[in-house]
């Protein structure tokens, strides 16, 4: 299956109630698959093509306001349009899943894969004090598995969750083991689970439920933001996900997520063949970020290389985590170009392994 199709099928199987989307390359297969599959007949799940990304994300807001399990997906330029709605979802504390099958930017950019939306994904993106829980799949299997995982996190924290994929993972075909069909919640079950806050119709036995992100009193808004940040702190404690490969004996560590992690795996093999002790740390969640793991590794390795399909975004978080104990460099192609394992190996050798005199205070331009 294609990554986008696996994600779409997993959405039906996760027991989602609705999907609202708008076509954009390279993620249009998500809505195409759903429309062809007619999940209304399979599970009763609603699929609707909205008039814009703005409308789609606000349909998500409406569905989530009533406690329903709802998803939307898009690609980079469409994600920019959704950010207003995502900020509202975060502010109003609405469980929801958003998928970005990223492409190159800025502007209309290109339809080729990119990881240049990292900042947008993990540093807020929309206005105000909020974060998203961000999952970064590196295979078609994870495109499928992360849907249900994302819904679980969204409802655990009552917060929007982002799956940050890219055109490579979305478009490539791999074997995938699909999870079994989960039943959709009945309205009675939904009211039992979410009735304390969701708009399901005010019954005489309870006060009305209001979903809003508005607090005209500054003290109230500060309280709300602190409540959000307490959730983010809990995510860091309980729901951080990462993978370490060959890090036990490693002298050099590559840090890469999503499609870059797959290419870096091959680069690691090539490096090991040449006798370099190289490991890979793959953040599976981009927020929360494996800060402590990087900090600890920095005590026993000689350097880090952040490998990204961008001019260097995650590298900033790697540097913050490593706290200048050892050099942290970046390598990446951008504009929709995908780096080869050989290019990564070359960068490893030039920037980290053979460069004992790397200075921490190199400017950003020099390190690209």
């Amino acid at each position: 299956m294609k990554g986008n199709e696996a994600l779409a099928e997993a959405t039906i199987r996760a027991g989602a109630d609705a999907y609202f989307g708008y076509p954009i390359t390279p993620q249009s297969e998500v809505i195409e698959y759903l429309m062809a599959e007619q999940p209304e007949k399979r599970t009763g799940m609603i699929v609707l093509q909205a008039e814009s990304e703005l409308a789609a994300i606000n349909m998500v807001y409406g569905a989530a306001s009533t406690g329903k399990k709802v998803m939307t997906s898009s690609s980079s330029p469409g994600m920019s349009l959704k950010l207003e709605g995502i900020s509202y979802l975060a502010g109003a504390e609405l469980p929801s899943v958003i998928v970005n099958v990223a492409r190159g930017g800025p502007g209309l950019g290109t339809i080729q894969p990119s990881q240049a939306d990292y900042f947008q994904a993990v540093k807020g993106g929309g206005h105000g004090d909020y974060k998203l829980y961000v999952l970064a799949p590196a295979s078609v299997q994870e495109m499928s598995d992360f849907v249900e995982d994302a819904f679980e996190i969204a409802f655990k924290y009552k917060a929007p969750v982002l799956i940050l994929s890219d055109g490579l993972i979305g478009q490539m075909m791999e074997k995938v083991k699909l999870r079994p069909q989960k039943a959709r919640r009945t309205n009675e079950e939904l009211i039992a689970d979410e009735g304390t806050w969701a708009c399901t119709g005010k019954t005489p036995d309870r006060e009305r439920n209001i979903v809003t992100s508005l607090d005209l009193q500054s003290e109230k808004l500060e309280e709300r933001v602190h409540r959000l940040y307490a959730k983010y702190a809990q995510m860091e404690c309980e729901d951080l996900r990462y993978e370490m490969i060959n890090c036990e004996d490693a002298e050099y560590i590559m840090v890469a997520y999503g499609s870059s992690a797959r290419i870096s795996l091959k680069a690691m093999e090539l490096a090991r063949e040449k006798g370099h002790k190289v490991g890979l740390l793959r953040p599976i969640t981009l927020f929360p970020f494996p800060k402590k793991q990087l900090f600890d590794l920095a005590d026993r390795v000689k350097g880090f290389l952040s490998v990204e399909l961008s001019t260097g975004q995650m590298v900033e978080d790697v540097r913050l985590s490593v706290e200048h104990k050892v050099p942290v460099e970046h390598f990446g192609r951008t504009g929709g170009i995908i780096h080869t394992p050989e290019e990564i190996l070359e960068a490893l050798e030039q920037k980290i392994i053979n460069n004992g005199t790397v200075r921490h205070h190199k400017t950003r331009e020099q390190s690209i």
Partner: protein, 257 residues
Amino acid sequence: MELLDIIKPENKVFSKTEAMTDTCLSYCPGCGHGTAHNIAMEVIAEMGIIQDTIGVAPVGCSVLAYDFMNIDMTQAAHGRAPAVATAISRLWPEKYIFTYQGDGDLAAIGTAETIHACNRGENIVIIFVNNGIYGMTGGQMAPTTLKGMKSSTSPFGRQEELTGAPIKMTELVSNLPGVYYATRQAVHTHKHVRKAKKALKKAFENTRLHKGISFVEIVSNCNSGWKMTPTESNIWLEENMLAYYPLGDIKVNGKLK
């Protein structure tokens, strides 16, 4: 007879509807929003559908509608209420879903969402309060501001050659097949309030019958934004707003009048 002897349940002739809360309205004295809220909520209470109704509040003066309406409500981003209501209606097809929006929200920033929800014929009620100005942000020009009308962003009066003509949304959407009922009402006199309430009743009855969009415009005043006393603003409304935005049904039972 003492006053206290008269205040007895059997003598009571009017009560506030249970679908309104006891919260004091935040609207300016003389504003039509309070009346529009009240008749909408009276209709919902009289139809016995409080537990089946979900409202969508806009951005604008009526952003806090959920403080006053005693029903479940969600508050949409500016202009997006019809998209929010679309999803709720699709997922809860037996519920009564309405949006309550002003002219900036519905006719400027949210035009796309308004047109497309109407075109899809979503089974919702859209209550559109048109006072020809942005009230909450302090009296700026709206898409419905009349020609020559002064506002803080058209200080010399609205000029058609610069900003176009005032947009008649109800006429515009009535041309879409998804719109089953489109009407323009007002709430500045008792007579108009009674008619507007009847129109709202019809709108929610249409939802019961799954007929699609019922679009109820309420032409209202904004004495603060218009810089008039409440009485002056009602006279000005009669003479100017209603001349350009004539009252009455525009489309009934899916047929243009």
